[in-house]
């Protein structure tokens, strides 16, 4: 065990923690939750099919924006900017690294994986299994400070996802159409916005950086709004992992023909 | 010879609450080497418990307010027994002391135009209390603490040592003041942690030790409030005045035992909470005194209408002055109509929706939820009177805070006179600041004026050390007394016999009990060693509590009238001939004596601030002869 709680002078208590509750449970659940998403997202990103429903213009967020000649016809909303991609490059390669970066450097996810994956600390007042600790003072973890850039890009991606969700109100005959897939895409995009805007960097940029709110009433309102969302940042982080997987799963099932979309209009 | 750690300072401040820290800041700013000695950790003093605010007539909310109005309110509140010069200085200087806190970094709640917001409070004519929500005391202590740190940073820049000019000795108890002839020469004490002795050689000592509440069983005061400063002053030859005046707050929690005595803010009643007895009756309607008949409603319907329409209805008797309400609760309990745990019910749950209660009384809701597991939105609170504040204290010179003994100064609750027979809410925090500063100045002037420094005699140090360790070596030939037992017997006796309602024969019983306890003191025995030994600490504090309790009881027996914080069942009304008399307590080392002393008459221009009609309620005819209202 670490030198911390056994350091000279401190009360000699030869156990890692005296907590009697199941403190190991939350990090375990976090690990399982994160692992589920990572495995699912990896598999789907490299799968290279069932990401576009041509009848209804449903595009899974994992492949948006699709900008190569590999994309199936219709799925490249913004044009095919480059040629065929080799199989080991996911078709969503343009946005995926930024989305990954946004979540990796997110203040909530940092807390989650520092605690569960790195066990630093595993739980409050439970000694961590590392001899040394330098936090985010050095490379590579000092790079967590670039979170706000990922936030800017995440904002752009959220706009693209919104566009995807709007153009998906489409029927096979080319007119307006609406099905269960639209509802799912829409909910997903709303949740993505909520998650993105509730980000701590966003809160800082919106107004947190100001010394005098009273001199900037509009930005104070913005900050107040973001602050309210920010309280739910953790919930939104998990909800959006869920909505992303669900949305993708639904598009995959419809695209593969395993199920057919429930149409309203 | 005793092993003693020695320090030399210009000024030693005992107590690190508001008054002590403000005194220390002043002394240090005057260039003196200053030590602050406190029983708790730095920043934990009882000042943190103050909720309401600091009274200062800044006139930010109502521009009609000024120091004269504040002065009048203070004198009225104290029933004209106050030291008028202290009340004057206090009213004049409070605004500057509050503004000064802002320069130290305090963040009070604001008005719309960005100034310090001020709130209404009992007895204050205008909104006057600068506040931060309901944690003003915490803001005050933290601000002063941080100012001391900032002074230490200045010293560090200059000398490389943070503690070159001002040092805090925390968790250190002073047990005796030492003198050279008739002058103060130092202070002797011990480190609570190690039990090792410590000696401060200093020509000036400022007492800022707070109150005496721990002599009573039910109190809102913390363990530190054992009357140390009162007792140190007495033993050093200084005098105490007004010790019979003790403020009992009508609504303290009574259940569960863990929180007995903790305050329930007046705001509960202000917002619509009502007092009921075990029959569910709103008993306060039976206790409206004759003088208040025209100001308070005599039926529930009118009282309830008052909350929304105060102009056309009389206010509810639940909001009578603190002493009236406390006495009424006491009577109900004695008559067998109390709540299961010896209080009465304070009910707000049946008076307004749960949501409203949570919005208007968040801290009370939180306090009962966290401490008592009582949901005040669903069930009534049980409340009863609790010992809250001692108006009496060391007799001091108003301008310099100097006690009778040269080199000894006192400020804050430990000083007497300022509040007369009853203190107004909010006047305590301002008192700390105004007289804390003055004590610091007084001490600095005194030290500067000295031709030579007094010296501490080794024999005095040895005697103080011997006295401190006596509980380890009891004198009782096998009879051993537990300090916890003695303490609880003293508390019970003071609470029952010299508490909120007093009678001559009961006070005599209390004095007999005190004599008995005194005779058992030499038998006190504590186990273990001197390192952080709470039993030993209590034994030492007990000496002080016994001494101070005797002063309280003797003064209470002598004053044959009821006024402010002193209620005699056998002399239930106020008597103008007593207004002018102060009861002064002193000791010759073994016996405590209390004698009468006339109050100095008020300066004419201050006297004329009052209407003759008002003064007639308090003054004798002869005293009023000089008032222009009489001559007209």
């Amino acid at each position: 065990m670490t030198a911390g709680i056994n350091a000279p002078g401190r009360a000699r208590i030869p156990v890692r923690s005296l907590r009697t509750d199941r403190w190991w449970l939350p990090p375990l659940i976090t690990n399982l939750g994160l692992a589920t998403f990572v495995i699912y997202a990896t598999v789907r990103s490299f799968m290279g099919e069932w990401y576009w429903v041509d009848d209804y213009h449903y595009l899974t967020p994992f492949y948006s924006p699709c900008i190569s000649e590999s994309c199936v016809p219709g799925s490249a909303h913004f044009g095919e900017w480059i040629g065929e991609l080799p199989g080991w490059i996911p078709m969503g390669f343009l946005a995926l690294p930024f989305l990954l970066g946004f979540r990796l450097t997110c203040y909530y996810y940092r807390k989650a994986y520092y605690r569960s994956v790195w066990q630093s600390p595993t739980a409050c007042a439970v000694a961590e299994p590392h001899a040394k600790y330098s936090g985010e003072t050095r490379f590579p973890l000092i790079l967590q400070n670039v979170h706000r850039y990922f936030f800017y890009v995440a904002g752009i991606v959220a706009v693209i996802n919104t566009y995807d969700a709007i153009v998906a109100f489409h029927s096979p005959d080319g007119g307006f159409g609406m099905g269960l897939g639209n509802v799912i895409l829409l909910i997903n995009v709303i949740m993505l916005w909520a998650y993105t805007l509730s980000c701590h960097s966003c809160r800082h940029i919106a107004g947190g950086r100001l010394k005098h709110f009273s001199a900037h009433p509009v930005r104070y309102k913005l900050w107040t709004f973001v602050s309210k969302l920010n309280v739910r940042h953790m919930q939104l982080a998990w909800i959006t992992l869920g909505t992303l997987m669900l949305t993708d799963l639904y598009v995959m099932l419809v695209a593969s023909g395993a199920i057919s979309d429930l149409r309203f209009v | 010879m005793t092993q003693v750690e020695r320090h030399t300072y210009d000024v030693v401040v005992i107590g690190a609450g508001g008054a002590g820290l403000r005194a220390a800041i002043e002394a240090r700013q005057r260039g003196l080497r200053t030590a602050v000695v406190c029983k708790s950790l730095f920043g934990k003093a009882h000042t943190v418990m103050a909720e309401g605010g600091v009274a200062a007539s800044m006139g930010n909310v109502n521009s009609n307010d000024n120091w004269q109005v504040h002065f009048r309110d203070t004198m009225r509140g104290g029933k004209f027994l106050n030291n008028w010069r202290m009340a004057e200085l206090h009213a004049r200087e409070a605004p500057d002391r509050v503004w000064e806190l802002e320069t130290y970094g305090a963040l009070f709640d604001r008005t719309k135009d960005g100034r310090i917001s001020q709130r209404n409070f009992g007895g204050h004519e205008y909104p006057r209390l600068a506040h931060v929500g309901d944690r003003t005391g915490l803001e005050l202590i933290r601000t002063l603490q941080q100012k001391i740190v900032s002074l230490q940073q200045e010293d560090h820049k200059e000398t490389g040592d943070y503690e070159a000019k001002i040092k805090v000795f925390q968790e250190c108890t002073v047990t005796d003041l030492l003198k050279d002839g008739d002058r103060i020469a130092g202070a002797f004490g011990y480190w609570r942690e190690s039990g090792r002795f410590i000696l401060f050689e200093a020509p000036a000592v400022v007492l800022a030790t707070g109150g005496i509440g721990k002599s009573f069983k039910v109190t809102s005061n913390s363990w530190e409030y054992t009357g140390d400063g009162h007792a140190l002053a007495l033993r050093a030859g200084a005098t105490l005045i007004n010790m019979e005046f003790i403020q009992f707050h009508p609504t303290g929690m009574v259940w569960p035992p863990s929180v007995k005595g903790i305050l329930v803010t007046e705001g509960v009643r202000g917002d619509g909470g009502v007092l009921r007895n075990s029959d569910g009756k709103r008993f306060m309607f039976d206790y409206i005194p004759e003088v208040f008949k025209d100001k308070y409603a005599d039926n529930e319907e009118e009282a309830d209408r008052w909350y929304t329409d105060p102009d056309n209805n009389r206010r509810t008797p639940d909001l009578l002055p603190r002493d009236e309400v406390a006495r009424a609760i006491n009577s109900e309990v004695k008559a067998g109509r109390g709540s299961p745990h010896g209080g009465v019910f304070l009910d707000i749950s049946s008076r307004m929706p749960a949501e409203e209660i949570r919005r208007r009384l968040p801290s009370m809701h939180h306090q009962f939820k966290e401490l008592a597991d009582v949901d005040i939105t669903a069930e009534p609170m049980e409340v009863g009177p609790t010992c809250h504040y001692v108006m009496g204290g060391v007799e001091v010179d108003p301008d310099t805070a100097a006690a009778k003994v040269p080199g000894l100064f006192a400020a804050g609750e430990v000083a007497g006179g300022m509040h007369g027979s009853n203190r107004l809410g909010g006047n305590s925090l301002s008192d700390l600041l105004v007289f804390g500063r003055r004590a610091g100045m007084g001490a600095a002037d005194y030290v500067d004026s000295l031709a030579e420094r007094p010296a501490v005699a080794q024999s005095d140090v040895d005697a103080a050390a011997e006295k401190a360790v006596r509980p380890f070596d009891p004198q009782g030939d096998g009879v051993e007394e537990n300090p916890y037992t003695l303490h609880s017997e003293l508390q019970q006796s003071m609470n029952d016999l010299v508490g909120i309602i007093r009678k001559a024969d009961e006070i005599r019983q209390a004095l007999e009990k005190i004599e008995e306890i005194k005779s058992r003191v030499p038998n006190i025995a504590v186990e273990g060693h001197r390192q952080f030994n709470p039993g030993w600490h209590l034994a030492i504090d007990l000496y002080n509590m016994i001494l101070v309790s005797e002063c309280v009881a003797k003064a209470a027996l002598l004053r044959e009238e009821s006024r402010g914080g002193h209620t005699r069942d056998d002399h239930p009304s106020m008597n103008a001939t007593w207004r002018n008399k102060l009861l002064v307590c002193s000791t010759d080392g073994t016996d405590v004596s209390v004698v009468e002393q006339p109050q100095i008459p008020m300066r004419q221009e201050l006297f004329e601030l009052f209407e003759i009609g008002e003064l007639e309620k308090y003054y004798t005819d002869e005293e009023l002869a000089a008032h222009p209202g009489r001559n007209a």
């Binding site: 007042a125 936090g135 001199a215 | 605004p95 100012k147 900032s150 929180v259």
Partner: protein, 253 residues
């Protein structure tokens, strides 16, 4: 109503110690501190414990109850079952003095290292004007009762004694944030936060917020905003470029 509870209380000093078992009476409505006091008055008169207001306002009676950092006066016995063994130990991040009392001087040392409030030099007392919306953020942090439970639970120093030198802990990083957000403070505290107080050590795992008896959102409202401000000054090329191009001073609006 009353019952006998099983307590395990750590007794010892800086050299040795042990968890000692006690069986002690518990009555309705009591908190852990009441039981410790009863232990003192009946079975262990020399049991050292630090306390003061007993109402959750002074922050003196910090300890660890069943391994969790808590105020003893704010931990009701009704939160435990009657057959539960309740373990009480001193805080494990600070050197122990005796029994439940620890040496918290680390915190006072760190407090002294934070540059004090620095008002505009020409502003006179009585002339301070601040808007309520501008003081509210700092007011939240000034609710702090300095119980040091956040310092105690923070793994940066709890598990790594050697970090005590470089890291001020949540309480004093929050103090830096408080002054940084004070509407009339003129000092720029961002570099100091990073270089002198070790903000970079914080990995925002929020244990400080979890244990705060005043429910101050230390991480979300003080530490992360402070990290963002530092990022704005030190790690933001856009801000850096803007400052270069438009010769803006680094002063904040």
């Amino acid at each position: 109503m009353g019952y006998k509870a099983q307590f395990r209380v750590w007794r010892g000093d800086d050299e040795s110690g042990e968890l000692r078992d006690y069986v002690i009476e518990v009555n309705e409505g009591e908190v852990v501190l009441d039981i410790i006091h009863r232990l003192q008055a009946t079975q262990a008169p020399d049991l050292a414990v630090r306390w003061n207001c007993k109402a959750g306002k002074c922050g003196s009676c910090s300890a660890e109850i069943n391994g969790k950092p808590r105020l003893m006066c704010m931990t009701r016995m009704s939160t435990f079952t009657e057959d539960e063994v309740i373990t009480v130990t001193p805080m494990r991040t600070f050197p122990v003095v005796r029994d439940l009392v620890t040496d918290v001087s680390f915190n006072y040392t760190k407090a002294r290292e934070v540059q004090s409030f620095t008002p505009p030099p020409d502003l006179k007392p009585g002339e301070y004007r601040m808007q309520q919306v501008d003081v509210e953020r700092s007011q939240e942090f000034r609710k702090c009762i300095e119980c040091f439970l956040c310092q105690n639970t923070c793994h940066v120093i709890r598990d790594h004694e050697e970090n005590k030198e470089a890291f001020s802990g949540p309480r004093f990083l929050m103090r830096v944030a408080e002054l940084e957000m004070h509407p009339l403070d003129t000092a720029d505290r961002r570099d100091a936060a990073q270089d002198e107080h070790g903000l970079g050590y914080c990995n925002i795992t929020k244990c400080c917020t979890e244990v705060c008896p005043e429910h101050i959102k230390i991480t979300d409202n003080a530490l992360i905003p402070m990290k963002e401000r530092v990022a704005g000054r030190r790690y933001d090329p856009v801000v850096w470029l803007g400052n270069k191009l438009f010769r803006r001073s680094s002063k904040k609006s």
